[in-house]
């Protein structure tokens, strides 16, 4: 018998339909994966089960949990279920904990509320739970506050809260999306163990097909509020009988077609970074004393030949973004030099940097944050033209913007729109249009596709590859996603604790990592091919 059974669930918020005739079930000690792109309604499904929907939401259909009709239950009944029989883990660990309460208070609170245990008893159980999720008492006493913990540690606390009373069902909504791959693997392992230990049902919600494939026994694929396909994970993904399933799977493994890289090995390096170090002053510990400086980038050297595509990979906080900023002359190295086209750019004034900036542009991760919402596309895309020696006339400027938009697959009529009129993928195209309008030799792309849905991601990767072929632009791709690095780059640099610990041909490094850091990344990185193969093997 199923633990959770959702039948014919439809949900509207205001006048917007969110779910249509949704069906899903979770059995005890089963992991059900719920997959879908953004806006497919997967998070709303979780909140409906918890009955924590916004006020304007209306749900019809049937949800039964352990014999209880959830949609008809009173608020008191729901309060008795939440935290006791159903636990939930959220996406954003940084904001999921109350900043003014200790982690002990927060874990013990639910225990005391549901079991009426004494404070000492509850704290005792909270302590055991925190030990269980990997926060031992020596380093993580109950009196710690959330801001003293890292993102991964905070997510462990959230899991401890959700699992403190051994719930029958755990709902995890994108529990690892905000974490880097190594932490992701650790948290997924923890969830898997907890499920096995207590015969808990797990509803795992994710946009990442590879993660779900590794974790889930069965899988439900959701698109725009409707279930596309549901069934055994291995079979569903190996057969790929539903067109949408096939589309998702292919997009997840997409590799853009690329001929041999431009100008490989020819002549002088485009960019040379020589023993660059960047220190940040340590935290002030008292009026007179500071903690020692923090070395974000430690003696890094690299060079990029014209037209080449290089990946810089590493865990979050390894210093890769700091390095990128120094290359872009948005931050100054503490020591070392950076040469672009043979000229030193470190320590130059803004006016002296103009020619270099013209040939070096940037694409950022967040397609929503990288445009000033108050300006029209024409002005936004034209912003780097400010760097040209000769100011273009208005007509010339429009002509150049139109050309750039055309190159990234947008219509020139788009130039009079505002950024909010575009989807996430289109905005990333705009971002690229802005980067190539001055015909740069190098584009630094900081996680350019990690905020995009897989199908959009595939298209943007194609665009990057195409522009590399057509315009001979060299790329420095900063990413934590090895699939992306493999898809689009020739060489890879692995960064760890501010240092470059390994470098080489992308495929060679990823297939045979030598350094510990690279090995950790490769083992932790979810890989759909590998995950499906493993599933098939397990089932014979």
């Amino acid at each position: 018998m199923s633990l959770l059974e959702i039948d014919n669930l439809s949900l509207t918020i205001g006048d917007t339909p969110i779910l249509k005739d949704m069906e899903l079930s979770v059995a005890p000690s089963e992991v059900m994966g719920l997959v879908g792109e953004s806006g497919s309604g997967k998070s709303m499904t979780a909140l409906t089960v918890m009955r924590l929907l916004p006020h304007a939401a209306r749900a019809t259909g049937r949800i039964s949990f352990d014999g209880i009709d959830i949609l008809a239950a009173t608020e008191d009944q729901m309060c008795a279920l939440r935290g006791d029989d159903i636990g939930m883990v959220f996406q954003e660990p940084m904001t999921a904990l109350n900043p003014v309460k200790t982690i002990g208070e927060q874990v013990a609170e639910g225990i005391r509320w549901h079991t009426k245990a004494s404070r000492a008893e509850a704290e005792d159980r909270a302590r055991k739970m925190l030990d269980r999720v990997g926060l031992p008492s020596a380093k993580f006493p109950l009196s710690r506050y959330p801001h003293e913990l890292s993102g991964g540690q905070r997510q462990r606390v959230v899991i401890a809260i959700a699992c403190a009373l051994k719930p029958k069902l755990l709902i995890a909504d994108e529990p690892t999306t905000a974490l880097d791959v190594v932490l992701q693997a650790q948290i997924l392992d923890l969830l898997r163990d907890l499920v096995a230990e207590s015969r808990m049902g797990l509803l795992l919600i994710s946009h990442d097909l590879a993660v779900v494939t590794e974790m889930a026994d069965r899988i439900t694929i959701l698109r725009r509020g409707e279930v596309m396909e549901a069934g055994d994970t291995a079979r569903t993904l190996s057969e790929q009988s539903h067109p949408y399933t096939r589309q998702l799977a292919q997009a997840s493994m997409h590799v853009p077609a690329r001929a041999r890289p431009h100008g490989a090995g020819s002549g002088q390096a485009l960019l040379q970074v020589e023993s660059v170090t960047r220190d940040y002053p340590g935290r002030r510990t008292s009026l007179l004393w500071r903690a020692p400086d923090i070395r974000a980038v430690d003696d890094v050297s690299l060079s990029i030949a014209p037209g080449r595509s290089i990946a810089l990979v590493g865990r979050s906080g390894c210093g890769k973004s700091t390095l990128a900023r120094m290359i872009l002359a948005l931050d100054r190295p503490t020591s070392g030099t950076i040469r672009f086209r043979g000229e030193t750019i470190t320590g130059k004034s803004e006016a002296e940097l103009k020619p270099a900036r013209r040939d070096m542009q940037v694409v950022f991760q967040d397609p929503y944050g990288s445009f000033d919402p108050r300006q029209r596309v024409e002005k936004l895309v034209a912003e780097p033209l400010h760097l040209l020696e000769k100011k273009p006339t208005r007509a010339e400027r429009r002509e150049m913007v139109a050309h750039a938009l055309h190159e990234v697959g947008l219509d020139q009529r788009d130039m009079d729109k505002y950024p909010h009129e575009f989807s996430g993928g289109q905005r990333q195209r705009l971002s690229i249009a802005r980067a190539i309008i001055t015909r740069p030799k190098l584009v630094v792309a900081d996680e350019p596709v990690s905020a995009l849905d897989v199908s959009i991601r595939a298209q943007i990767l194609d665009l990057f590859a195409e522009l590399n072929q057509k315009l001979g632009i060299a790329y420095l791709f900063i990413t934590h996603d090895l699939t992306v690095a493999r898809a689009i780059t020739d060489e890879v640099l692995v960064m760890h604790d501010g240092m470059i610990v390994e470098r080489g041909k992308t495929n060679e490094v990823f297939d045979h990592p030598r350094s510990e850091a690279a090995q950790a990344l490769v083992t932790a990185a979810p890989d759909l091919h590998r995950a499906i193969a493993r599933r098939m093997q397990e089932q014979g």
């Binding site: 872009l328 542009q361 940037v362 990288s370 445009f371 000033d372 300006q375 505002y418 971002s431």
Partner: protein, 289 residues
């Protein structure tokens, strides 16, 4: 404290359509417009001449001839309320202008430069903040003597740190955005970035603060002229009218009621307007509906 700014992403017509469905905005807008109209109309026409004293008509209760009654010199209170509006609005508006004109550049500059410049400017800000408006008004009056101009200066000085704080907090929330980094990568200077990207994005924040300070200015001006530190007779002002009414509360309560109501309605209108604007432009309020 950090400030979180959600930048609304809508066109002007969306915003206008929403504005006229927002009851606070509509009420505030209409009241403010009426008060402004009244002040402007008073230049062309008032029921009676406010400078002429008709002793035979003194302290008359409201009637058809004098809707709001008359004061102890036989002047028509309605006419005086109309003329008094000019003074209140002028003082409060210019004081907001001073506050914005000095405070916003200071706040935006502090945010753009950061470090020691920021720290120093904010300490000066704290200093000005330590002098409540009325106290600085009293000091200024002690030097230059009472008058509307000195009231403006006193209230204006008090407005400066308010706008500096709002502008700085707003700008600090904008600076880490990626579009600012993109502008820097395009070689824009921090002044260009402030003018082109930062100020337009904090304009609504400043507008809302502007209406709040406008309303506070009306209240402060009334307080100052009540104490005799603001506009001087024979120029009618709401605060001064209340001062004259105080000793005559028993015989002529209308002398106190109507000017006071004028202040309440004006301030209410401006506050509703500010609330309305904040509501319309805050995407969070949409989410909560």
């Amino acid at each position: 404290m950090t400030l979180h700014i959600d930048i609304p992403e809508e066109t002007l017509s969306d915003i206008l359509a929403k504005a006229f469905r927002n009851s606070a905005f509509v009420a505030g807008f209409v009241i403010t417009l009426l008060i402004l109209a009244m002040a402007i109309a008073s230049y062309a026409w008032t029921p009676y001449d406010v400078t002429r004293l008709v002793i035979s008509d003194k302290t008359q209760a409201p009637s058809l001839a004098h809707w709001f009654g008359t004061d102890h010199f036989g002047r028509d209170i309605l006419s005086m309320v109309m003329v008094g509006a000019r003074n209140s609005i002028a003082v409060a508006l210019v004081a907001v202008g001073i506050g914005m004109g000095v405070g916003v550049p200071v706040g935006a500059f502090a945010a753009a430069r950061g470090g020691l410049v920021d720290e120093a400017l904010m300490r000066v800000n704290d200093l000005v903040f330590a002098f409540p408006a009325l106290l600085s008004a009293i000091m200024i009056t002690a030097i230059f003597g009472p008058g509307a101009v000195n009231a403006i200066i006193a209230i204006g000085i008090f407005n400066i740190p308010v706008f500096a704080r709002v502008a700085r907090a707003g700008a600090l929330a904008i600076w880490p955005r990626e579009f600012i980094l993109a502008a820097r990568a395009a070689g824009k200077s921090s002044t260009q970035i402030t003018v082109e990207h930062v100020l337009p994005n904090i304009a609504t924040l400043l507008l809302v603060q502007g209406t709040i300070q406008f309303a506070l200015g009306i209240l402060a001006e009334a307080g100052l002229s009540y104490l005799g530190l603001g506009a001087q007779p024979p120029m009618p002002s709401w605060g001064r009218m209340l001062f004259d009414a105080q000793t005559r509360m028993v015989v002529a309560p209308w002398m106190a009621i109507f000017p006071g109501m004028a202040i309440v309605v004006t301030v209410l209108g401006l506050n509703l307007l500010g609330d309305g604007i904040a509501d319309i432009l805050d995407p969070k309020s949409r989410r909560q509906r």
